[in-house]
């Protein structure tokens, strides 16, 4: 088993290096020159020239590339102009927030997606199946940033103030202003309340996709010969469905993890911007606008690594569930 893991890890390294290379050359093709940004009226040319040197911007590209990769591997991601702090520290502040949001969105999406998909497949052609299909298709076709705005509109603006409902969820930031004064329990409740809308905005679109996929996968498995064998053994319907069919139907869903993670991270860009959530997605977009290339490069590199790690985890999970893979 460990041999299998090692081989997968080795396979992932060229992938990550490849992505890093693409990002590096992409960013360096950029016409804009980052140092111009620092131009306050009084700054003389020598100072700019000096600035370019210590950021190493004057050396030819390939040298900068080798130095950058070298630095990258030793964990030195360079210096951020806009935050005037080492990029590594900046990332350390923002990365955990993105991970919390992505993890909770992933959990919600896969949990509800699998449950809804299974219900649809088990109750095929029923009213439940067709109505769920329409609702899910509706969410599947929705841009997550619009869903976020609609959730804010209803759940945090209109619900309590206009419609007088006891529902209210905060629409920005990770915690309320009076966070320090709350009790430990209160703190937790406050953090969760702030997490609800961003997670739903990210998760619902994904959940719809997973449910559709799960329904198809279950319907495919229920047609297999071994399900008929299970019935021929006299097993009750729920054992056939939840023991024999479900586990086989979950196999392709696990591969979806690898496929949907990039989709999820793309979503964080919007959700973090709308909900003022201090995460990596928002960090990168702002860095791009401000031409803060070290942050862009490091952030993109981190995202790519996280996707590769997620794929690796999905592969391992697949090997755990499907014995046919384990021994190769």
């Amino acid at each position: 088993m460990t041999q299998y893991v090692l081989r997968r890890l080795l396979g992932a390294i060229p992938l990550v290096l490849g992505i890093a290379t693409i990002i590096f050359f992409l960013v360096n093709l950029a016409p804009g020159d980052p140092t111009l940004l620092l131009l306050s009226p009084g700054v003389t040319d020598e100072v700019i020239q000096q600035m370019r040197e210590n950021f190493g911007l004057d050396q030819p590209v390939h040298i900068r590339y080798v130095k950058w990769i070298g630095a990258m591997l030793t964990g030195d991601f360079g210096y951020s102009f806009t935050h005037s702090r080492p990029v590594a520290d900046v990332l350390m502040d923002f990365l955990p927030n993105t991970l919390i949001l992505s993890a909770s969105a992933l959990l919600v999406a896969f949990l509800f997606g699998i449950v809804l998909g299974t219900i649809q497949a088990v109750r095929q052609y029923s009213a439940m199946d067709s109505s769920l299909s329409v609702v899910l298709l509706f969410f599947y076709s929705m841009p997550s940033f619009w869903l976020a705005l609609m959730l804010i509109l209803t759940m945090s603006l209109y619900a309590r103030n206009v419609w007088g409902l006891p529902i209210y969820f905060p629409a920005s930031g990770m915690m309320s202003t009076d966070y320090e004064f709350l009790s430990a329990g209160g703190k937790l409740v406050d953090r969760v309340k702030h997490l609800v809308l961003p997670t739903l905005s990210l998760a619902l679109v994904l959940m719809a996709g997973i449910a559709r996929y799960m329904r198809g996968s279950m319907l495919e498995v229920v047609r297999q010969d071994f399900v008929r064998t299970a019935h021929a053994k006299g097993l009750p319907e729920r054992t056939v469905v939840f023991k024999h069919a479900l586990r086989n139907a979950l196999l392709p869903i696990i591969t979806l993890v690898g496929l949907y993670i990039p989709f999820l991270f793309s979503g964080t860009v919007f959700i973090e911007t709308i909900f003022a959530w201090p995460g990596m997605g928002r960090l990168i977009v702002e860095a791009i606008f401000q031409r803060d290339y070290p942050v862009v490069m490091a952030g993109a590199f981190f995202f790519a690594t996280m996707v590769v790690v997620a794929n690796l985890v999905a592969d391992l999970l697949y090997a755990v569930v499907d014995p046919r893979i384990r021994y190769e």
Binding site: R7, L10, G11, E328
Partner: protein, 343 residues
């Protein structure tokens, strides 16, 4: 000069001249790759040294259980799969040395008929278009290729108005006829038939087999007939070769092979075939082999059949020395140190 004991109902085969097809030491190994860089860690020896000859107008049956390499042999002979070793001569030409143009000419004279009625026809092309395409690529059928296509359909027992129909509108038996019509479109002399009727019901099977026999008699075709149904192979073939784990273990005139099997595997194979004759079922001699066929990636040393061989005279030589296949006077050869001889 080989001469069968009993002249079967088939036309007399003249084996005095050179064979149309002669295969010597044919091998086809598939590499087993592992790991991310696809390191080769072993070889599946699907075909591991096969020799046979085929005279014009003759039908050679190639029979054996799944995994014995009979289909791979059929494909390697026509270079649908590039052989790993050995030589194949068709009408004197060295097939393995043919360049692109030479191979195209070979395709005109040697064709292939496939097994799966549902997979052997392009679902997106009408039957007429399929036949016309074959004629067009080889520049045949003259000005009006459509008439030639209709002629081919009628030749295999279908009707002219079927020409614009699509494969999914035909039954299994009719699709096999279409496969045969496509092979005939380039007017070949030699056909490799890879389990042509195995996927069909018995009654439909008989229709297609009769068609193949009529075509052979009329057009003087030579067949390499590959199948796992022993009774069918005996009915169709003049001579039969039995394959096991990538090699031919026995070759004989079909009549002699079934009366007097000399290789222990052929003997066991024949006794395992269920006979549609309940009267004799009690006193029939039964040889039931134990265990499964070994994996072709590491065949047992010496004679590949020795681990399962029920031959009473089996000894150390069997598990160390590979038995050569000497051909007895009556054209009957068996690759076994101690072949069975009818007393």
């Amino acid at each position: 000069m080989l001469e069968s004991g009993v002249v079967s109902a088939k036309p007399h085969i003249d084996r005095s001249g050179p064979p149309l097809l002669s295969v010597r030491g044919l091998k086809k190994h598939f590499p087993i790759r592992k790991g991310t860089f696809g390191r080769v860690v072993g070889q599946v020896k699907a075909v591991d040294g096969v020799d046979f000859d085929l005279w014009p107008g003759e039908t050679l049956g190639l029979v054996g259980e799944s995994g014995c390499g009979k289909s791979t042999t059929g494909r390697a002979v026509l270079r649908l799969l590039e052989p790993t070793d050995g030589s194949v001569h068709f009408d004197g030409d060295d097939v393995r040395a043919l360049d692109k143009e030479g191979l195209r000419k070979l395709r005109r004279r040697a064709q292939f008929v496939f097994q799966d009625p549902f997979g052997s026809l392009n679902p997106r092309m009408s039957v007429g278009a399929m036949l016309e395409e074959a004629l067009k690529v080889h520049g045949l059928g003259g000005p009006n290729r459509r008439d030639r296509a209709v002629e081919l359909l009628e030749r295999v027992g279908l009707r002219s108005e079927h020409v614009d129909r699509y494969p999914h509108e035909f039954s299994g038996g009719q699709r096999q006829r279409l496969g045969i019509a496509r092979a005939l479109s380039v007017e070949p002399d030699f056909l490799v038939l890879d389990e042509p009727v195995s996927a069909l019901d018995v009654s439909v099977q008989a229709q297609v087999v009769n068609l193949l026999e009529d075509l052979q008699r009329e057009l003087g075709l030579t067949y390499l007939f590959i199948a796992h149904d022993l009774a069918l192979v005996e009915h169709v073939s003049d001579r039969v070769s039995v394959m096991y784990l990538g090699r031919i273990v026995e070759t004989a005139f079909s009549h002699d092979l079934y009366r007097d099997p000399r290789h222990p595997y052929t003997h066991a194979l024949l006794s395992a075939v269920p006979r549609p004759d309940p009267a004799g079922r009690e006193d029939r001699e039964r040889v039931v082999l134990t265990g499964d066929v070994p994996s072709p990636s590491d065949p047992p040393p010496g004679c590949p059949f020795h681990p399962r061989c029920p031959n009473p005279r089996k000894d150390g030589r069997c598990s160390t020395v590979y038995p050569g296949a000497e051909t007895a006077g009556d054209g009957h050869s068996a690759a076994c140190h101690y072949p069975y001889f009818k007393v």
